[in-house]
């Protein structure tokens, strides 16, 4: 990746919490030439000094506004509500950005960043890593080729207990606009839907279980031309995490965490299991995303997934949140009616 013709760029990793440690730092750790130019930025100085020592990184800073002028690109791995103000500052300084998902807490903020980057001639790449998973990519190819006829329905369910080892608790203390299962897990799921559909669907119904806070269960119904679909997301219980795409002449089914397998049933034929080549783990995808960012900084590549690419999904999530109504939850009704 880094040779004499293309010297390693200087990259700053802003936000060194759980996502940085589990996803980005292993990539730098495996590429010492890249790591030696790395600037780590996080308010927790002792923590990043320790990490910098392990990586032989260039320097540590507590404030992203103090980044030296020779930093070419920044990876934003901070809580969602900080993406917009930080990215705005960094793009204004002419830096390229690789931003964690979601790009911003609202569509207006995301659009503003994309427009600013265009004005400043910088690039926004985004880590919507699931677009690079072989099974999701194959669904996109099949739909684009129209091999199975017109799209009819999409059912997508993801349920897993929230268990992210957040140290700061930002998931629950941040402004409401950047919280909840729809902004978190839904960032990927809605992005797939928009990507597969080639655009933003029309919202039919949005329901969730929030009582003034952030939702843990979100159910979305949508339509797009002749296709109707549902998304069910939850942070409360582990359910099968699957998607089912029904077309006029066939059905595609997959499991969210089985990156390399897809089932396809064409017409009346027997269901076939496809084994797909490509990345098997998140770390392999992280490697691809970071290396793509390095190539962007070396003016050798365009982003695998750009800020512009994910705008439809962020807009759709905004619509879902704005129009959401609360589920009927009779198990709470009996509590509210019975004063102890």
């Amino acid at each position: 990746m880094t040779d004499q013709r293309h010297p390693s760029p200087t990259i700053a990793l802003i936000g060194c919490g759980a996502i940085a440690e589990q996803y980005y730092l292993p990539v730098f750790s495996a590429q010492p030439m890249l790591a030696k130019n790395l600037v780590l930025v996080d308010p927790d100085l002792p923590r990043i000094e320790k990490l910098a020592k392990q990586l032989n990184a260039r320097m540590c800073l507590q404030d992203y506004r103090d980044l030296p002028a020779d930093v070419q690109g920044t990876i934003l791995a901070t809580p969602t509500h900080l993406h917009h103000p930080m990215a705005h500052h960094l793009i204004s300084r002419g830096m390229h950005i690789l931003c964690e998902k979601p790009l911003a807490d609202t569509a207006a903020h995301a659009r503003e960043l994309v427009e600013l980057a265009e004005q400043k001639g910088t690039t926004i790449a985004v880590n919507y890593l699931q677009r690079l998973i072989p099974s999701f990519t194959r669904v996109k190819e099949l739909l684009s080729q129209g091999a199975l006829g017109e799209l009819q329905t999409i059912e997508y369910i993801v349920g897993e207990e929230f268990d992210w080892p957040t140290i700061s608790g930002f998931y629950f203390n941040a402004p409401l606009t950047s919280r909840g299962v729809l902004r978190d897990r839904g960032a990927h799921v809605v992005d797939h839907i928009c990507w597969w559909l080639n655009g933003k669907p029309t919202l039919v119904r949005s329901q969730n279980d929030a009582f003034g806070g952030s939702e843990c269960v979100s159910r979305i119904e949508f339509e797009h031309h002749k296709c109707r679909g549902t998304i069910l997301l939850n942070w409360l219980a582990k359910t099968p995490c699957t998607f089912k795409v029904v077309c006029e002449h066939g059905v595609i089914e997959g499991e969210v965490y089985d990156y390399q397998t897809l089932s396809i049933q064409k017409g009346s034929e027997k269901k076939q299991k496809l084994k797909l080549a490509g990345e098997k783990t998140k770390i392999e995808i992280a490697n691809r995303i970071v290396n793509n960012f390095v190539e962007i900084l070396q003016h050798r590549a365009q982003p695998l997934i750009s800020g512009q690419d994910v705008l439809p999904s962020i807009e759709f999530i905004d619509e879902c949140n704005e129009q959401a109504t609360r589920f009927e939850m009779p198990w709470y009704a009996i509590v509210e009616n019975a004063h102890g």
């Binding site: 369910i157 349920g159 207990e161 929230f162 268990d163 992210w164 080892p165 957040t166 140290i167 700061s168 608790g169 998931y171 629950f172 919280r179 299962v181 279980d209 929030a210 009582f211 003034g212 806070g213 952030s214 939702e215 843990c216 269960v217 069910l232 939850n234 942070w235 409360l236 219980a237 359910t239 089985d258 990156y259 390399q260 397998t261 084994k275 098997k280 783990t281 589920f327 939850m329 009779p330 198990w331 709470y332 009996i334 509590v335 509210e336 019975a338 004063h339 102890g340």
Partner: protein, 353 residues
Amino acid sequence: MDKNNHYLVTGAGGFIGGWVAETIFLQNQHNVRAGLHRWAGAARLSRFQMDLSICDIMNPDQLDQVMDGITHVIHCAKGPSPESMINGTRNVIEAAARRGVKHMVHLSTAEVYGNPTGIVDETHALVKTGNPYADAKLEAEQVCAEYIQKGFPLSIVRPSIVYGPFSKTWSVSIGEKLKSGNWGIFKGNGDGICNLIYVSDLVKEVLSISQNEQAIGQSYNLNGPDSLTWNEYFARFNNALGLPELKVIEPESAKMKASIIDPMRTAAKYARDHFEKQIKSLAASFGPAKSAMKYLEGIIKSAPRMVDFDLFNRNAVYPDDKVRNLLGYLPEVNLDTGLSLTVAWMKQVGLIK
């Protein structure tokens, strides 16, 4: 009642603690602070705009902070180990005592009575059985008794089998077993009494106890309105889920299966505890290994353990007359209603279609 009451719920990230915190919040008669062991457990309660605080019961300084301004404590936290259940309870009581808390309710369990038969009221001896959870709860009760003796205002509740939305053990897990098709009516092994109490009945009683001075220094069994066997519970839950009728499993077959699967379960747990990373890596790189693991996991999760039969055969009733006399209250959610609410919740989150 008085909105000047400020409740701290320890273990609010758990099934019962979560329900207690939610109920206080929704009834809007008292203020509530939800004490969480770690932020990862905050998702459920973050749906409400309530006071969420990190509260590690093994950290006296942290406890001292979260106890600030608190008048009532509902202690549901158990911590990650038996030691934390015992010493954590001591820490909670001491912090509450320093802050002049008016009344604390300690959530214990009917399992502190050991493996008895017949009518088991609050005068029954507490017996250690070697079950780490039950034995630690018993020792935590001994800690409570020590402070009650010293005059600390504390009540102990001993719930039986608590079920309802969010219950992993007695609702989600049993539901999954029923769905697997491997569960059934255990002939000769499921005719013990299943002392079910729906979670909102339990919470209502706990909160009423916390507001009743006469309850201080006392222990109470908490049980539900239905009298049924475990096999009846399985059959009625199965029916509420709309599943085909359960098969009858002969005693020899049930015990033989459990005796084969128990060692597999132990081995799987050991492998997960010691080689999780390697197992995940193997599963990611070798499809057949992943399929085999998934298949094995399905079998293990849907099969009863030998120790389950001890519970399913236990002919013990934990009468709740004492709390009924105190509160003049009858648990009101019968099994049909409780199961219907549980199934509705399971549908909402996608556990069933």
